[in-house]
């Protein structure tokens, strides 16, 4: 295990390393991805924990990969700013880990991690340091390789620095939660939300109890208007510390899903059908995105759902991940990603087996 203090030190280490290399952050995502095949050298990135630059007036922040989401939030909060994401793996996760796993949570109205990254610095397996993007909020200079690194579970290169866009905090946020009797009643309510003028920043459907969680962030009066125009139900409205605590509870609910969590990617209008057919014991769905995280039991369940839908294994014990591929890639995706992996890491030494090289 090595703990580099800087990008340059990591570069030095990797240029002398000949074995397999495994980057490690806060280990909040170790149940995600295909099983690791081998490792000779673990790279602990937690020492890369500096916020290198923060210019509130530019709405940009530049952090090293080991900075935690919690620390980022605290720093931004001092200037009434925030990163509009709340990945399920929570405040102890590192920004490098969140980017590598493309982690996400209920906060989906403003996109996912990929949409907030404006630049990255990485170290490739041979020690070569390269950057992509830049430090400004809008940029089309050169290829946007940050998109490729995001979600590649550290198999193309090790992310060491990330530049992010951020936003001013909303003047007010409010959460409304309601429980519905049946799947049909929930689907009706969600349909009304989808076709209404409401613009929740989060819209989660939690099962099997059929709760709908809506979070609004806006001008206070715009929030009042939205609360007045909710679809008919017994809405329980919270704000302030209670609101934060409620979402923290939902994060707990997410952690309790399992033993295998399948992320089924559909459409907002097909979610009810997905849930009805799969009949999971518990689920949380990003209802406005058509993405359902559901509890399933084993690899066979994943395979069965895959006959009709795109499924990513979001979280599973090692034995299950040995049996079923994480991403379920199409032939075309598999071929392109494998070529990409080989271009960056011809000897397959970086996080071997965790991504495309462990798919088939």
């Amino acid at each position: 295990m090595v703990s580099p203090q800087s990008t340059e030190e990591l570069s030095e280490i990797l240029s002398n390393e000949r074995g397999s290399v495994v980057p490690v952050g806060a280990s909040t995502q170790s149940h995600f991805g295909n099983p690791l095949r081998s490792f000779d050298c673990a790279v602990d990135l937690k020492q890369l924990n500096r916020i290198t630059e923060y210019v509130p007036a530019d709405l940009t922040i530049h952090v090293e990969a080991g900075v935690t989401l919690g620390e980022l939030r605290r720093t931004l909060a001092e200037n009434r700013q925030f990163l509009p994401l709340d990945p399920w793996n929570g405040p102890t996760a590192t920004m490098g880990g969140i980017a590598s796993a493309n982690s996400q949570g209920p906060y989906r109205a403003c996109g996912s991690m990929r949409d907030w990254i404006i630049g990255m610095k990485v170290v490739e397996v041979n020690g070569k340091v390269s950057k992509t993007g830049g430090r400004v909020v809008k940029n089309v200079t050169g290829y946007d390789l940050a998109k490729l690194y995001t979600g590649s579970i550290g198999t193309l290169a090790i992310i060491t620095e990330i530049s992010l866009k951020v936003r001013a905090r909303y003047e007010r946020t409010v959460t409304a939660i309601a429980r519905f009797e049946t799947l049909e009643a929930t689907e009706t309510a969600l349909g009304l939300i989808r076709t209404s003028s409401l613009q929740p920043v989060s819209c989660e459907w939690v099962g099997p109890e059929h709760e709908v969680w809506l979070r609004f962030g806006e001008h206070p009066r715009a929030i009042d208007w939205q609360l007045k125009n909710l679809p008919p139900a017994q809405w329980n409205v919270t704000e302030g510390p209670d609101e934060d605590a409620a979402w923290e509870r939902l994060r707990g609910r997410f952690s309790a899903l399992g033993p295998v969590v399948a992320k089924v990617v559909g459409l907002p209008t097909t979610m009810a059908e997905i849930v009805a057919v799969c009949n999971p014991s518990g689920w949380i769905a990003h209802a406005l995105n058509g993405i359902v995280f559901m509890s399933v039991t084993n690899a066979a369940d994943v395979d069965r759902i895959r006959t009709n839908h795109r499924v990513v294994v979001e979280r599973a014990p090692l034995e299950v991940r040995k049996e079923v591929s994480t991403f379920g890639l199409s032939d075309a995706e598999y071929a392109l990603m494998l070529r990409m992996k080989r271009a960056f890491d011809p000897e397959g030494r970086l996080n071997p087996g965790r991504h495309v090289d462990g798919e088939r």
Partner: protein, 490 residues
């Protein structure tokens, strides 16, 4: 182009869909960046994905360069056939294939004009957000290739944030589908890499886009200033107040002069040093207060005239001046070069002052009209292409302006792309190693380099040698970098 190739192309797309006449080809010798010109050998008009794939396979078989083209409105030479070869013209693939109102998505062909999408879905209260100034002419395929922006990407993001899935023809002629209607990247975000690859990774033949609900209300105003600094400070103060405007545009005195003398006359105060065009949108409730808050910030920064659009007609008029600004320049100058740099928005005043000094030194006027909210500058260098010495000067001047922007932490392009225009300047922001990694990715998608060659990457020998005017072909530099890479791998 050899007659047998022309014959084979005609067999793929039909006799009347192949243009190889020297005079007719003149139309395709450049895009909206008219300073760089080269005629393709042949242009084929395709109507179906299979035709694109067949043309690509043919090009591969005979090692002929090829590139896609939409409306030809690009400003960096992305659709210019720098190495000749085959232009695959996608304008006739212009159907909106599906609109899914409830899921707020649409499936379109690449030749569909950007604005036509919003017009087609307006009846459902929806629209497509990215709005480049050329939106009434530019194609969505071109937007995807360049990751196009526009005034409203300050709040709503660039093209890449609105593309959910594509069907694409790869350089070997195979057809793939990447992404999904949920916009959820599965595994590596290959789609995210293709968007903005300036037509060098793949040819996109079908695009699934995100539609947004039209905001309930919009408030648009202009504020006129006697000084550029006061206008720039307003940007920072609005952002610092936690307001996220839908757009924040900056129009300088020279631009006002041109606009007010043209058909795009918007009624901007003619004596202003700068005019800010600010728009906020969202829920009706609360928008009035936000608008008032902005007016207050403008006043505090000494805006001497503030005009709030009373209705849609007035709003359209205020925008007409901004959107027509590039076209209006013809009133005051025979030619212009549109630049597209980005700087951290807090550095606006000093950079604008420096651009002014550079303009004086080179004795070529510069008009500034740009997206101030995200620091995306568009210095317009005004010149006369009939005078050879001026043409020489604009390149040196453009390079100096870019250097100033890069030195404050900025970048070469915010929304127009690098293309052939700025490829020699890439070394200002990227090292040899950065470019080598990009070429490594390019080689995955485009191993033989036949798709849209000689774009984006510098042709000079290397970044460390920039300044020396040694020119080599892109193929040579790619080979050189490859050698370096192989050395590293060992």
């Amino acid at each position: 182009m050899r007659p047998e190739i022309i014959k084979k192309l005609k067999a793929i797309v039909g006799d009347d869909c192949v243009v190889s006449d020297e005079t007719e080809l003149l139309v395709y010798e450049c895009d909206a960046l008219t300073l760089f010109r080269n005629k393709p050998d042949v242009v084929v008009f395709v109507t179906r994905t299979e035709q694109v794939a067949a043309v690509v396979r043919l090009a591969n078989e005979h090692k002929i360069p090829f590139l896609p083209r939409g409306s030809g409105t690009g400003l960096s030479g992305g659709a210019m056939a720098i190495a000749g070869g085959i232009v695959i013209e996608l304008q006739r693939m212009n159907k909106i294939l599906a609109v899914d109102v409830e899921n707020r998505i649409a499936v379109v062909q690449p030749g569909v004009v950007n604005l036509h999408i919003s017009q087609a879905v307006a009846q459902h209260g929806l629209y497509y957000a990215p709005d480049p100034s050329s939106q009434s002419a530019c194609s969505i395929g071109g937007n995807v290739a360049e990751n196009a922006g526009g005034p409203h990407c300050l709040k709503y993001g660039m093209t890449t944030n609105h593309i959910l899935a594509v069907e694409a023809v790869l350089t070997d002629g195979s057809v793939v589908r990447l992404g999904n209607a949920a916009g959820e990247a599965i595994g590596m975000d290959l789609l995210g890499a293709i968007v903005g690859s300036e037509g060098t990774f793949a040819i996109v033949t079908e695009i699934t886009i995100r539609l947004l609900a039209k905001p309930q209300a919009v408030k648009t105003l202009i504020a006129a200033y006697h000084s550029i600094e006061e206008c720039s400070q307003t940007v920072s103060d609005v952002i610092a107040a936690g307001i996220l405007p839908a757009a924040f545009e900056f129009v300088d005195a020279k631009t006002i002069e041109a606009v007010e003398a043209s058909v795009y006359r918007a009624g901007y105060p003619r004596d202003a040093a700068a005019v800010a065009l600010i728009e906020v949108d969202g829920f009706r409730d609360g928008l009035e207060e936000t608008g008032n808050q902005i007016v207050e910030i403008c006043r505090r920064n000494k805006a001497y005239e503030i005009r709030v659009a009373k209705d849609e007609e007035e709003r359209a008029k205020l925008w007409m001046g901004r959107k027509g600004a590039f076209g209006a320049m013809g009133r005051i100058s025979p030619d212009m070069l549109v630049m597209d740099a980005v700087i951290p928005r807090t550095r606006l005043p000093e950079v604008l002052a420096e651009i002014d000094r550079i303009s004086e030194r080179y004795k070529l006027p510069v008009a500034n009209v740009f997206h101030a909210g995200d620091g995306n500058l568009h210095p317009l260098i005004l010149f006369d292409s009939r005078q050879a010495d001026q043409v020489d000067r604009i390149f040196a001047m453009g390079e100096e302006i870019l250097r100033v922007c890069v030195d404050v932490g900025g970048s070469l392009s915010g929304e127009h792309g690098i293309g052939c225009e700025k490829k020699e300047y890439m070394c200002m922001v990227f090292s040899d190693a950065d470019l080598a990694t990009m070429l490594q990715v390019k080689a995955v998608f485009n191993p033989e380099g036949l798709l849209n060659p000689d774009k984006i990457f510098p042709t000079r020998r290397s970044c460390t040698e920039i300044g020396k005017q040694t020119t080599t072909s892109t193929a040579e530099i790619e080979k050189r970098i490859e050698t370096v890479l192989r050395g590293n791998a060992r």
